[in-house]
Amino acid sequence: MSRAVEQSNRAMLRARDAMDRRYAEPLDIPTLARIAHVSEAHFIRTFRATFGETPHRYLQRRRVERAMSLLTDTERDVTDICYAVGFASLGTFSRTFREIVGASPTAFRKRTTAAGGVPSCFTKAWTRPSSFG
């Protein structure tokens, strides 16, 4: 039983790693389910049970986190950043960003300063907007 849980965890983690790595690509559930070697319905259900949120939500948070970083660290304009982090439309990007961060991309950019010398692998994990309150 427990070995099955471990195998399932690793499969879900592999799919989550793919989202971390390929967030800028148009990743969809069939692609991610294939990485995890399970059916689409099973993937969504099991991912949520493993990590506490749906794969769609995880990918949105990953993309928004990357957008937050680009807004803070670069001068690139919002539309450019929207496509660079994997959103297909500016409307979806703005709505998702506001829902997750609580401010528009432009307002967020005005109020934030860069994180400095901390390794970015940590700032990415720790500044990522939370789904968990």
Binding site: E6, R10, M12, L13, D20, P119, C121
Partner: protein, 136 residues
């Protein structure tokens, strides 16, 4: 009194032979010590030539951990939630990255230029996170 070195660190692995395949066979580390102590297999590796710093590859289980706790450790590890973050350096991040990809290593982050260097992220077969950086 001054503490003057970090000589040993520990991470959990699910299987020590598989850990050797990964850490020695794929990452190119060396076995420092592989000793059967009876109650455990003491298995440490080090970066080639750096014998002063070892990583203990420990299998969670009795007698150190009761079976139920060992199961919890294994579950967290496979979720990537246990900690055990290793940071390593290389003289050529892009080349090292390509070599590791060719060996089938799981990648979490492709090489990116940061203020402090070029680094990328990989995952060991059990869920431990590893960063490899070419520092400026």
């Amino acid at each position: 009194m001054t503490i003057d070195a970090i000589s040993r660190s520990q991470i959990y692995v699910l299987d020590q032979d598989e850990a050797l395949d990964f850490y020695v066979g794929k990452l190119g580390l060396e076995v420092h010590t592989d000793a059967d102590l009876g109650f455990m297999r003491w298995l440490t590796v080090n970066v080639p030539g750096d014998r002063g710093r070892e990583i203990l590859l420990e299998r969670p289980g009795p007698p150190a951990l009761d079976p139920a706790t060992a199961e919890q450790v294994r579950e967290l590890l496979t979720k990537g939630a246990l900690g055990g973050y290793l940071f390593m350096t290389t003289d050529d991040a892009h080349k090292t990255y390509e070599d590791l990809v060719a060996r089938g290593v799981d990648v979490t982050d492709e090489p990116t230029e940061r203020p402090y260097g070029i680094d990328f992220g990989i995952r060991d077969p059990f869920g431990n996170r590893i960063r490899i950086g070419q520092m400026f």
